[in-house]
């Protein structure tokens, strides 16, 4: 059987478990299952979304019959100088974060005083939010401070975000929020 190093690594770790913990050797069945599962899959490069060690991941996907892309398996990239193929429990279970039934499926809106969420369209949510942002910006904007300095700041809107952003999203967030004149800008680094 042709086993690439990459496949070998993933088989290896599963095999150890099968062999030692149960007292009989499951290696072969695990090997076959593993092979079938990711056989013919597309390999993509990703990174662990959790801590800042920056472990590289290899994600295996396949296009299902209904056209949906299915995520089959995630493992550590053996080529990475950071993790050399290894992952901790968080990285190793990152598939369960990527594919989850717990996701919020559509925009939700909770009106003042309401006891429940209401499902709304993106159009409704974005439109209403944009109006709120403008109203709050106009209401709390200071063009010149008491000493006559030009300050052009919006004091009444804050933005916090981003440890999970790609850097490029973070950059865009900074640019747009500063463009609105926000001074209250914060992310995970401090907290």
């Amino acid at each position: 059987m042709d086993v690439s190093r990459r496949q070998f690594l993933s088989i290896g770790s599963a095999g150890v478990l099968g062999g030692s913990a149960l007292g009989f050797d499951l290696t072969e069945s695990v090997r076959i299952k593993q092979r079938l599962r990711i056989e013919g899959a597309t390999l993509s490069h990703s990174l662990c979304p959790y801590c800042a060690v920056g472990c590289s991941l290899i994600a295996h996907t396949k296009k299902a019959a209904n056209g949906k892309t299915e995520l089959l398996h995630i493992e550590g990239d053996p080529d990475s100088p950071v993790n050399e193929g290894t992952l901790c429990p968080k990285g190793a279970t990152s598939l369960q974060l990527a594919v989850s039934r717990r996701r919020v499926p559509h925009p939700l809106y909770r009106a003042p005083g309401a006891a429940e969420w209401k499902q709304v369209s993106w159009e409704f949510a974005l439109d209403r939010l944009a109006r709120n942002i403008k109203a709050s910006r106009d209401a709390t904007f200071v063009a010149q401070d008491a000493d006559g300095n030009v300050v052009n700041r919006c004091e009444g809107v804050a933005f916090a975000g981003g440890a999970a952003f790609s850097s490029e999203e973070g950059y865009l967030a900074t640019k747009l929020m500063r463009g609105l004149g926000l001074v209250h800008l914060e992310q995970q680094a401090r907290v």
Partner: protein
């Protein structure tokens, strides 16, 4: 960030994960990498296994890091200034510092201006009314050209002041403050003292256990001073290594999602700065030594103007100072606690949160819930429900009374988009989009672009307050409503606007509007030849991919700045360009050029007595043992946490730092601090391996591994209170309470502090009222105080007072 920038000129992990294997001694403080950064920890283990390195772990709690450390030092939480201070004193008293390095690469010989004083816990220049120091008074004596006077033997030389300051930190005092037995402390000090030899190198590894204190900046500064004295900065296996907690904290800090900076660590302008010149006068460092390169200070204007060109394009012209006044100028601190303080004062109308749950993360959750109830609107962008999106229906809240409009916008996951993460070693690594967005979920950057453009449409149609920066912002993307991250990466890299070509290095940036760059420290990651963050020449072929053999792997991804793997690497070689330790070279001068890592200097700028000094990011050209860039002292001093079981043994009248920011007091709200009479135990919070802040509440396997909230109670205290493992206990502070199960443990032993027994209680944070296991609705941060570090306003999560009782 503040502490390292104050010391070396920029704030980031200086080395990188793989490099830790080159250390001889590893001091781990305020961190538990074995559990919080498990794969990064392999490089500490490699140092141990491959070269016999020793690991010394100082921590309040015996963790899995302690279990494999050679020495575990039980330390009272937040007293690392005294621990490092004792080590600094030991090194200086016994003349174990790296003398050549200290003379050449630090400000040891700089003479401090007359008037500097430290007495009874106070430095000179304190303004009682404002509660702040005038840090400008902590300056050097200068000549006509503004260069500092240098005389190592002067009584006010930095080195002599340093000696005087730290001689109070003798082993007995260290023991009295930290709870570390004298003999054990000396045993550590002897090992650390060895590391001042040129052929030895030590690294310091730390995390939020140092930053999350009211003295966080000074805790880290202490380690940095020790590292400078030992000559370990800039060297492979050395450095100050800050372990960031989340995948992309580093990238998002670099790109300045932070109230006080612009991308690339440029300062946000202040109101009094009426033009770019006034801004530069106060922001860019000034050359204080004839041989200082002062790289950052000299080029500051180029970076600012190139940034403004990236943001405002054609609207940024010479005539309008490149739209300098489009940048908002904050009146006061606008960091995390300030946001919620403003909401409590009724001044904040709306908050947008993306991937951040204010309720769980911030200190004093009950007060934060109140703050959110005061808003007009709240927008949460997240793939899952969070304790912030659901705050209005949190246990104990009455939705009918809360008038806040709340929007929950489903955002995509990391795996559904491409883009880069910058790890704590500054490695910019690109990822693929693996999956399309699920269902109706949208990328955060699309949501933000859409919101921005809708606001722009409203300004176009209706007018409003100063619309220019909104109307004129440059969004040169194929579809501005749905920009591609690849397009943004190119914008960050920057271009020559005359040719349209992307730049290969920040050296080519200009200050006349002919270049643009969204973040100068990333210039060069995406040159004309392509996206270097995608490079993958890795460990399968070390002969080809790691030519120096030092594990730099220069063609794996890209690291800022300039693909340099170890910051300040000029200091890894002596004045003549020879590596301090030839077996572990960073860079070396060979045949008219620097070889090894990407050097700090132009490759052919040679070494020698007239050559530029090594720390290119400071105006002094050297690392700062003394620094006026920290709000509560040019040297770190031990101060007690705001809530402490004892008065400061060094100066009981000035127990806590006088510059810490007490939000409630300043706002005229009632005091929310407790005293030792009512809350006799010290508590500290932390995370578990299976947890990554709060998102892991939604991952089934991880919830199975850590299903239920608990606190760790030291065995002796548990006996006193009749608490057994599994019992339910109530842990309360002045601000709130937790009712969870107890785990009785020997991991947290009693400490002998200033003649009394002090118990510490351990509180893993994670659980809340959302997620898979919602039976546990107690928020650990209900207990933590609303107070910020003097310089950074980082909250105090790691040392506060509680009571515990069995229920």
């Amino acid at each position: 960030m503040v502490s390292l920038a104050a010391t070396f000129g920029r704030g980031a992990m200086t080395n990188h994960w793989r490099d830790i294997r080159h250390a001889d001694l590893i001091l781990v403080n305020g961190a538990n990498p074995a559990e919080a950064h498990p794969v990064g920890f392999r490089w500490l283990m490699r140092a141990k296994l491959d070269r016999g390195a020793k690991i010394i772990h100082a921590d309040p709690r015996f963790t899995r890091t302690s279990a494999v450390a050679d020495t575990y030092v039980r330390i009272r939480t937040g007293t690392d200034v005294a621990y490092f201070g004792g080590l600094i004193n030991y090194v200086l008293t016994n003349r174990l510092h790296h003398d050549d390095y200290v003379r050449w690469a630090t400000n040891a010989g700089f003479v401090v201006k007359d008037g500097y004083a430290f007495q009874d816990g106070m430095f000179n220049g304190y303004d009682r009314e404002q509660g702040v120091y005038n840090t400008k008074l902590w300056a050097y004596e200068t000549d006509d050209e503004g260069h500092a006077r240098i005389d190592l033997d002067h009584p006010r030389s930095v080195l002599n002041l340093l000696r005087a300051h730290y001689q109070r930190y003798d082993p007995d005092t260290v023991a009295r403050i930290t709870g570390i037995p004298r003999e054990q402390f000396l045993q550590v000090a002897r090992q650390v003292g060895e590391m001042g030899r040129p052929d030895k190198v030590m690294t310091i590894v730390y995390a939020v256990g140092l930053t999350h204190h009211t003295t966080g900046v000074q805790l880290i500064r202490s380690g940095a001073i020790l590292q400078l004295l030992l000559g370990n900065m800039g060297r492979p296996g050395g450095g100050m290594n800050a372990e960031r907690g989340h995948a992309n904290i580093q990238g998002n800090t670099d790109h300045a999602i932070s109230w006080d900076i612009l991308p690339g660590y440029l300062r946000i302008p202040a109101p009094r700065q009426k033009d770019i010149k006034a801004y530069l006068d106060e922001s860019a460092s000034i050359k204080q030594h004839p041989r200082a390169v002062n790289f950052f200070g000299e080029n500051y204007r180029r970076y600012l103007v190139s940034l403004l060109k990236a943001w405002y394009g054609d609207a940024a012209t010479k005539d309008n100072e490149f739209a300098f006044h489009y940048l908002p100028k904050p009146a006061a601190n606008a960091s995390w606690i300030s946001i919620f303080d403003q909401a409590l004062r009724g001044k904040m109308q709306g908050i947008m949160l993306s991937g951040m749950t204010a309720t769980s993360i911030g200190p004093d959750s009950n007060q934060v819930l109140q703050a959110l109830s005061n808003l007009k609107w709240l927008c949460v962008m997240d793939p899952f429900a969070t304790t912030s999106s659901e705050f209005w229906q949190a246990p104990g809240m009455d939705p009918a009374k809360i008038q806040t409009e709340v929007f929950m916008l489903p955002a995509t996951h990391w795996i559904e988009k491409d883009g880069s993460f910058t790890n704590s070693g500054r490695w910019v690594q690109w990822k693929d989009q693996v999956l399309p967005p699920e269902g109706e979920a949208r990328h955060d950057h699309w949501i933000l672009s859409e919101l921005f453009l809708r606001v722009r449409d409203l300004y176009e149609a209706q007018g409003g307050k100063f619309p220019d920066p909104v109307l004129k912002m440059a969004l040169p993307y194929a579809n501005p409503r749905k920009p591609e991250l690849d397009e943004i990466a190119q914008e960050i890299n920057g271009r020559d606007l005359r040719t349209g070509k992307r730049l290969a290095t920040f050296v080519d940036l200009n200050d006349d509007g002919t270049t643009s760059a969204g973040d100068w420290i990333y210039t060069g990651h995406y040159p004309e030849e392509g996206n270097l963050a995608k490079r993958r020449d890795g460990v399968q072929d070390p002969a080809r991919n790691d030519p120096s053999g030092m594990g730099f792997y220069p063609n794996w991804a890209w690291s800022w700045p300039a693909n340099r793997r170890v910051l300040y690497n000029r200091a890894s070689a002596d004045e003549n360009g020879r590596p301090w330790d030839p077996s572990r070279p960073g860079i070396a001068w060979e045949n008219g050029t620097w070889v090894g890592d990407v050097p700090d200097y132009p490759p052919t700028t040679g070494p020698g007595p007239d050559a530029p000094l090594p720390f290119i990011m400071t105006g002094e050209g050297v690392g700062r043992l003394f620094s006026n860039a920290v709000a509560d002292g040019p040297f770190p001093e031990h101060y007690e946490p705001i809530e402490s079981p004892i008065a400061n043994p060094l100066h009981p009248e000035v127990s806590a730092t006088p510059a810490a920011f007490r939000y409630d007091e300043r706002a005229g709200r009632p005091n929310r601090f407790g005293t030792v009479a009512d809350y006799p135990y010290v508590a500290t919070s932390y995370r578990l391996t299976e947890h990554e802040h709060y998102v892991t509440q939604n991952v089934e396997h991880l919830v199975q591994l850590q299903p239920e909230a608990f606190v760790e109670v030291p065995a002796a205290l548990a006996r006193e209170k009749g608490i057994e493992t599994g019992d339910r206990v109530r842990v309360s502070s002045r601000r709130g309470k937790l009712e969870v199960r107890a785990v009785v443990t020997n991991r947290l032993g009693p400490l002998d502090v200033d003649g009394r027994t002090v118990y510490q209680i351990g509180i893993p944070i994670h659980w809340g009222f959302v997620g898979i296991n919602t039976g546990q609705h107690w928020l650990a941060n209900a207990l933590t105080p609303f107070v910020g570090d003097a310089s950074a306003r980082t909250p105090e999560y790691k040392a506060f007072l509680v009571n515990i009782e069995k229920i």
